[in-house]
Each structure stands twice: as structure tokens, then as C-alpha cells.
Symmetry: C2
């Protein structure tokens, strides 16, 4: 199981509730790919969202996000952390 | 106190020990600005580092990273999280 950070753009002015709903759409289907989205942080001013996830592969993370309606190509595998 | 994610580029092939040393240089001086760097994740293949921090301002985070030898202009304030 690897760890991943993915980055979404264009979430300008998104609220706590909207982020929670988007996150829930990931959680509802993540088991299909053996992925778990642990946490997500939003900067509504720049429209950036950072999601921390675990899963078997970058592609698995991307497939869940795409099916949940917020695709991103920007997914980084994180083998090192402090 | 706000929360921030900052992104560094160019950390290709950096090891766990090198990341720990870079992070320690932040920790050594972060109190000067009331900043705390909580966690950092590295993708050595793309050279990206993501740092999660708390502090009084984006500028304070940037000043500590600059003094520690790894400046970045890419710092996002994170008022929303799930």
C-alpha cells in the first residue's frame, strides 16, 4: 500500500460543506479500488485542493477521483515522509 | 493560527535522511516566526515536496523556508479541511 498526494485546481470559493460532499463521493466508492482518502485541504482563494490517500497505485487513485466527478492528472506517490 | 500547504520542486532523488535534515533546518528556526512545520511528504521521482504547517501568515512560512535554504513561492492557506 502506497501513499499519495493529489492536487486539484479550480475549486474557487468552495465551502466546507461542498468539500465534505465531494470527499464523501470518493469515500462512497473508494473500496472498489482499495483506495482510502484520508484527508483533504482546500484553499478556496487559489482553488487548490490537496488530498492525501493510500492505495495500490496512482491509477487507482485517479480512477476513483474521476468516477467521483473531480478528475485530476496531478497525483504524486509519497514513499518518503517526515 | 492558520494552516498552510507549501509545495517545493526539484527534490529529485532526495532520500529519507536528506528530507529529515532539510525538515530539521526548518524546525531549528521556526519558532522565530511562530511557525510549526508538522509534516512533509516527498515524491523523489517528480521532485515534489509537500509541507503542512501552522503559523500566523503565508509570509512567515516563506521566510522560515527561505532561511532554511529551501525557499518556495508556492504556499497555500488552508481554511477548509475534511
Amino acid at each position: 500500500m502506497a501513499k499519495f498526494m493529489d492536487v486539484h485546481s479550480g475549486f474557487f470559493g468552495v465551502t466546507q460543506q461542498q468539500l465534505a460532499e465531494a470527499h464523501q463521493r470518493d469515500l462512497d466508492i473508494e473500496a472498489d479500488e482499495g483506495v482510502h482518502f484520508e484527508q483533504a485541504w482546500l484553499d478556496p482563494e487559489s482553488g487548490k485542493v490537496f488530498c492525501l490517500a493510500t492505495g495500490p497505485s496512482k491509477d487507482a487513485v485517479m480512477r476513483i477521483h474521476a468516477r467521483a466527478g473531480h478528475p485530476t492528472a496531478e497525483v504524486y506517490e509519497l514513499p518518503v515522509e517526515v
